[in-house]
Amino acid sequence: MFDNFFEIFYDIFIKGKAYKLMLDGLVYTLVIAVFAVLLGIILGALLAVCKVIPQKNIIAKFFNSVANVYITVFRGTPVMVQLLLFYYGIFPRVMRGYEYKALIIAILVFGLNSAAYVAEIIRSGILSIDKGQMEAGRSLGFTYSQTMMKIILPQAIKNILPALGNEFIVMIKETSVAGFITVFDLTRATRSIVADYYNPFVPYFTLAVVYLVLVMVFTYFLNIFERRLRKSDH
């Protein structure tokens, strides 16, 4: 299989200029992954807080139930099905003809899906913080939400950073199904190259290497970032 690998690779990607398609796809993949994870973290933090607020009154209980239903639904159905449902089922008429429609729906769906997982990650992060921190914040006159935002969440996020990094890694790879709603991501770009050259091995092998390098580069920077955050821990 590896006979002539580099020759074929050169023919397809350099002489045939397929690298341009791959770069386009890479941009889409990264845009989806980055914005979806950001959306997932913001929404996930809100859901997590809904789950940990003391269940003292009806409003708190209401938010808790909403969060529970949300997490159950989005974790309980495949992201691929959610993509098809949102793109073809729920929003067939919205933004019709707009060139970035599929991209926006993909970010939305991957973000909503990720939020369900991130919520559980952040919730465990919040619960890992000593309850004395909340008491100290409240005793200084902070409200519950101020204490959450300024005291608890910054510490919780630091504790769960490895898990959030993992979520981003999962996301980079998960976006490979975005092609099913016409997004021209890395995988979709590669599929079109395969179709053009009737050669599945070299393009798909290259695709795998590209994903692997993406994940490795990200892991490297995540490790550096984590080390800097640990500054206050010595």
Binding site: A136, S232, D233
Partner: protein
């Protein structure tokens, strides 16, 4: 004596956790400038009593007036009143992700709305008073237990509270560090700060307090001046307690 001299008034305070009645009806007052020490066996409810004063524990019955406002009334904004009630915890509860200076200034800046410069100025003066000005940029994990607790005290003071609540402030400290924390508290008492201190340090209670509460079985079983409580205990429970701890 006018009612204005009473800073905290407690009426029929009750607290139960599920089936267990921890506080069974406490009536008392704390006057401005007064130092009250609260003693009692573990599990007697003395920490619960203190934590009820700023509603860290929600009372199940009774009323608490602070500056003549009923803070147990659900309509009262407790956050406003907590600004005026400093609290020091057994486990320090410093914010580990912030420097000493940030620990002290975050609440004055965000809650009281004073400027960063003014807050830092206030914090540095307090740090100097407790001999920790050179540690302003350190993180809590770089401090000893005694230093942590002194920072926790000045963090509460930075809000310029009307009263300071101490919940066993020296119980988590190594013995050689107890003195430095008690010294700060003594100085504070001398300056006229109103203080409520839950403590096992009988020497401190005897020396510094104006009044001593002995809490047992969920009530204030005996109260009086340190001379009365330590010198002439009336109830058998207090006699028994003192014979064990002194």
């Amino acid at each position: 004596m006018t009612t204005n001299d009473v800073l905290i008034k407690v009426e029929g305070l009750k607290k139960s956790f599920g089936e267990i009645d921890v506080l069974k009806g406490i009536d008392t007052e704390i006057k401005r400038g007064e130092v009250v020490c609260i003693i009692g066996a573990s599990g007697s409810g003395k920490s619960t009593f203190l934590r009820c004063l700023n509603l860290l524990e929600e009372p199940t019955g009774g009323k608490i007036f602070f500056n003549d406002v009923d803070i147990t009334d659900p309509k009262t904004d407790i956050n406003l009143h907590r600004q005026k009630m400093g609290m020091v915890f057994q486990q320090f509860n410093l914010f580990p992700h912030m420097t000493v200076l940030k620990n002290m200034t975050i609440a004055p800046i965000k809650v009281l709305g004073i400027s960063k410069e003014e807050a830092e100025d206030r914090a540095m003066k307090l740090l100097e008073r407790v001999g920790l000005a050179d540690r302003a940029d350190a993180y809590p994990s770089q401090l000893s237990g005694g230093q942590k607790q002194r920072v926790a005290i000045v963090r509460a003071l930075c809000m310029q509270p009307d009263v300071m609540l101490f919940d066993e402030p020296t119980s988590a400290l190594d013995p050689e560090m107890v003195g430095e924390v008690l010294d700060v508290m003594k100085q504070l008492a001398k300056e006229g700060m109103t203080m409520a201190v839950v403590t096992h340090e009988m020497g401190f209670a005897r020396e510094v307090s104006d009044r001593v509460f002995f809490i047992d079985e969920g009530i204030i079983m005996e109260e009086g001046s340190p001379e009365e409580v330590f010198g002439n205990p009336k109830s058998p429970r207090l006699q028994d307690f003192l014979s064990k701890v002194i």
